[in-house]
């Protein structure tokens, strides 16, 4: 369980976010994570709730459920993070719900928990793509160029986040009179 430099770590995540296109030779970029292991594997895209409980909407929950990658070995991989800043994998994986894809990224093991950061995904019979679906869709929903500074800093410009920070404060303690 080691600590890594926050800014250095965020820099590599940001670098990952910039890799919007991927080629077949592209391998995962190291992020210096605990117990990090680069990996490329085939797996079925699944909705974790479905696998564990049998509650299975046909679309894997339309991007609102926790997503996983089910390997032929039976291992259920928690796809916890994509290549963008502060973003998860649902929008990268939901289009392939129930399909087998090739996933490329990093396993990390810490506190006894093994998770996977998805950097690239290759659907069957299609090209590799960078796993940055959230930020692409966020830009599209606002008719912004993906290279716009507002998009790069989506987390500071998102309407929901801004409204909650107005209400709660950055520390979440505004109602108690504590603000930065």
């Amino acid at each position: 369980m080691r600590k890594i430099g926050t800014l250095a770590a965020l820099a590599v995540v940001a670098l990952g976010a910039g890799l919007s296109e991927a080629n077949t030779a592209q391998a995962a970029n190291s992020w210096g994570l605990p117990g990090e292991e680069t990996a490329r594997f085939d797996a079925k895209v699944v909705d974790v709730m479905c696998v564990l409980t049998g509650d299975c909407p046909t679309d894997c929950g339309a991007g609102k459920r926790v997503m996983g990658l089910l390997r032929d070995s039976g291992e259920l991989v928690l796809a916890i993070k994509n290549a963008g800043p502060f973003t998860g994998t649902a929008r990268d994986l939901v289009p392939f719900c129930g399909q087998t894809v090739t996933a490329d990224g990093l396993f990390t093991i810490n506190y006894g928990v093994k998770t996977f950061a998805l950097q690239f995904v290759k659907p069957k019979d299609a090209d590799w793509r960078g796993a940055n679906g959230f930020i692409k869709e966020w830009a599209k929903e606002r008719a912004l160029d993906p290279k716009d500074d507002k998009v790069k800093q989506w987390f500071r410009n998102d309407e929901q986040v801004k409204a909650l920070i107005d209400e709660q404060g950055k520390l979440g303690l505004k109602s108690k009179g504590i603000t930065p």
């Binding site: 926050t6 993070k81 502060f86 649902a90 979440g172």
Partner: protein
């Protein structure tokens, strides 16, 4: 009748086979968990200090960005939230974002699979709000503003 049953089973498998997968899974355990609602990625990756008020803003960012929300239990275990009360749409969920960083006590079904503890919460028994004033030591994570 028998033919219809076989056809029906075949159709169910062809349409995804979700229930068949679940049938292979062990039964869940009924649990009560007390802990802080966290951003699972920042905590597990140790990419920054990721507990309490210092990390509240970042936890909102990650929850909005679709990173799974977790609970860091008093037992120091991480529980990845799959369902909150009746809602399995837990990603980018405005209601769950409002609870971020709060200390809660919840009841639900625990599923353990391949080192991960998944929690389907059906009841929030207690919500104490934010009790960990970590900003006093760690400022605002990760950028200080």
């Amino acid at each position: 009748m028998r033919r219809d049953l076989i056809l029906g089973l075949g159709l169910a498998l062809a349409l995804g086979g979700g229930p068949a997968l679940a049938a292979d899974a062990p039964a869940p355990k009924r649990v009560t968990v007390t802990g802080e609602i966290i951003d699972s990625w920042c905590y597990l990756s140790e990419i920054m200090y990721a507990q309490g008020s210092a990390h509240h803003q970042c936890a909102l960012w990650c929850a909005r960005g679709g990173v799974p929300v977790g609970i860091l239990g008093e037992d120091e275990q991480v529980y990845v939230v799959l369902k909150m009360q009746d809602d399995s749409a837990v990603l980018e969920n405005p209601g769950i974002m409002k609870l971020q960083t709060n200390k809660v006590t919840v009841e639900g079904n625990l599923y353990e699979r391949d080192s991960v503890k998944y929690l389907a919460i059906d009841t929030i028994i207690d919500d104490q709000g934010i009790v960990n004033y970590s900003h006093e030591e760690f400022d605002i994570q990760p950028f200080g503003e």
